[in-house]
């Protein structure tokens, strides 16, 4: 969020080197890691897209949504319903449909939600997301109820790549690259959004709503656009998540899932651009290993969250940042 002063929007050489290194590592993972590791990372990348979208609201606009499960779930359920009722198999079609419908749902909910801020915004987003959850739960003849809906492996790149191989290899190789590709695009788009004049206006709204209004920012309208963009990113994540999971249940629409998205972002640090991505990846490993290690994984996560709030409110990225600054300070003076 805060690149070198005087050069807004540009990456510092250090950041550029960092990004390239991470990109090389991410591309290399399927060659060196076991399929299980690659798939775990793939889940992490999907969650990172959701976290990026969520942070446009929390980190850049100053709105804490507790209903982002609605958009993730919309992306997931739209894909599953297209498979079930229209027999679609193309992943590109799912991606477009997922983004469009979740943006539409966010547009509708946003009309109501952006009129408020702070706690009322949180509760309103929560209440509206639960409308969708209860419908997915109760209209079982459409949505399968608690059993959810199954989604087979889709065809990628307009059917150029058919899922002929076995599912595990497909997910750990082709699908991983597919997700990585869209993850890269998402990061680039979000980077452009937050460094555009629109992104700056959002930050002005976050820092001082009244002043932003005085300099001519249409606060409510900008908040609404941010809400829709945020929902679309989270919806894309939901769409990408379904083939990975093979199944979507009402759990992804239930409000604790929204809490999980909040967790990603706070764990990583919502005051930085990269924090939410780091947080989503870290959370995913934390949960995967906590679930494998103990049935009391919620206890582990809860304790981590409590400690985080008490001792590291800036999250992983913020703490890392502070450490680097402390380390570099003597060299600068």
């Amino acid at each position: 969020m805060s690149p070198a002063p005087g050069r807004p929007g540009l990456l510092t050489p250090l950041e550029l080197v960092g990004i390239l290194t991470v990109a090389v590592v991410l591309v290399a993972v399927p060659f060196v890691a076991a399929p299980f590791q690659t798939i775990t990372l793939c889940y992490g990348l999907v969650f990172a897209i959701a976290a990026l979208g969520f942070n446009l609201l929390l980190g850049y606009t100053g709105l804490l949504s507790f209903g982002h499960s609605a958009y993730f779930g919309t992306g997931a359920y739209v894909t599953a319903l297209l498979v079930k009722y229209l027999g679609w198999t193309s992943m590109e079609a799912f991606v477009v449909a997922g983004i469009v419908t979740s943006a539409a749902v966010a547009g509708l909910f946003g009309l109501v939600c952006v009129r408020y801020t702070r706690i009322f915004f949180g509760i309103l987003t929560l209440a509206l997301s639960q409308v969708l959850w209860s419908l997915a739960l109760k209209l079982f003849w459409v949505t399968g109820g608690t059993d959810g809906l199954r989604v087979p492996t889709p065809r990628l790149f307009l059917g150029a790549l058919t899922p002929a191989e076995d599912k595990l290899a497909f997910l750990a190789y082709r699908y991983y690259y597919y997700v990585l590709f869209l993850f890269g695009i998402s990061v680039a788009v979000m980077w452009l959004v937050v460094h555009s004049p629109f992104g700056k206006a959002l930050q002005a709204i976050r820092d001082n709503e009244t002043r932003a209004e005085f300099v001519g920012v249409q606060v409510r309208r900008y908040r609404w656009i941010a809400f829709v963009v945020s929902g679309a990113f989270t919806g894309l994540a939901g769409t990408l998540w379904v083939p990975l999971n093979g199944l979507t249940t009402p759990d992804v629409l239930y409000w604790p899932f929204s809490g999980r998205i909040v967790f990603f972002v706070v764990l990583g640090g919502f005051k930085t651009f990269w924090g939410p991505i780091l947080g989503a990846l870290a959370y995913n490993y934390l949960e995967t290993y906590a679930v494998g290690f103990t049935v009391y994984w919620q206890l582990v996560l809860g304790i981590v969250l409590v400690l985080l709030v008490l001792t590291m409110p800036q999250g992983l990225a913020g703490t890392l940042d502070a450490l680097i600054r402390r380390w570099r300070k003597p060299a600068l003076t």
Binding site: L58, R118, S134, V309, L310
Partner: protein, 291 residues
């Protein structure tokens, strides 16, 4: 006519449980400006403790004493509240409210698994309490007597809470702190103590709700998460921080839910959330908002 009476009683039964949960949530918000996401799990905690204590005592004590033992759930939840507020919430009052929300979300996760750890994954039941009462006949309709007991508990709790907040010295301090914490502090009120007491009282109400519902529904994992969201609907309709609002909200949700189960079961929950959203849209601070 008979169905109408039964439906009304069912609604009142449901409303009194909801009031017990929501009044605590609202009280805590009103005084401390914290939305306690762990509130539902304190309700579940009350249910577990009550089920455990009553289960231990079932064959040893006279059945009337079992009703007294239901209070154990409320007291346990209150004790948990008295412990949690000074240790985990107090450090956060000067921070942004996002952190307070996250802290209580973390507590929710912890409490959920602590209950699983202590009492195992299976539901805990102690129906001895409700079984002893069997059914009774009111105006020609037979109705489970225990449900009437719950309605009475809800009503008594509402009156007692009202008297406590509006008719006692402590209530005056509570309302003063709620209106202007700094002014109250300047006038010599020990705000820290009021906060602990308010939070403890809020948890007591949640625990009481869990304890009285336990003989009917048992103590189940996940009950807190389900209850919290309905309590949210209640306080959003009534107005966060208002006790009258919690009562009216609980009655509205109770009646709508009973109607919903009979006439539009599939969209019953969706209708409730939509009502909450509409109320929030039209009157953001709820029906009984205090300026």
């Amino acid at each position: 006519m008979d169905t109408l009476l039964i439906q009304t009683l069912n609604s009142l039964f449901y409303a009194s449980i909801l009031f017990l949960i929501a009044s605590g949530l609202s009280l805590v918000y009103g005084v401390m400006r914290i939305v306690n996401m762990a509130h539902g799990n304190l309700y579940a905690f009350g249910a577990y403790v009550a089920a455990w204590v009553v289960g231990l005592a079932t064959d040893r004590l006279h059945w009337t004493l079992l009703f007294v033992l239901l209070l154990s759930g409320a007291l346990a939840a209150a004790a948990a509240g008295a412990l949690l507020e000074p240790t985990l919430l107090r450090p956060l009052y000067t921070r942004a409210e996002e952190y307070q929300l996250l802290m209580t979300f973390g507590l929710l996760l912890i409490l959920e698994d602590v209950m699983r750890l202590v009492w195992g994954p299976h539901p805990l039941t102690a129906s001895a309490v409700s079984d002893t009462l069997a059914s009774m006949s009111i105006m020609g309709v037979t109705y489970p007597a225990y449900n009437l007991f719950v309605i009475v508990v809800g009503g008594v709790a509402a009156v007692a809470l009202w008297a406590f907040v509006y008719r006692t010295r402590f209530g005056v301090m509570l309302r003063a702190t709620s209106q202007d914490m700094r002014m109250a502090s300047a006038l010599g009120i020990n705000v820290k103590r009021v906060y602990v007491q308010a939070f403890t009282l809020g948890c007591f109400m949640a625990g009481l709700g869990g304890a009285v519902v336990m003989p009917i529904s048992g103590a189940v994992l996940g009950m807190g998460i389900d209850a919290l969201i309905l309590a949210f609907v209640v306080v959003v309709i009534g107005g966060l921080g208002s006790l009258e609002g919690a009562l009216v909200g609980a009655l509205i949700v109770g009646f709508v839910r009973t109607l919903g189960i009979t006439y539009f079961a599939e969209i019953e929950l969706a209708v409730l959330y939509l009502i909450a959203a509409v109320v929030l849209f039209v009157r953001p601070a709820g029906l009984f908002a205090r300026a």
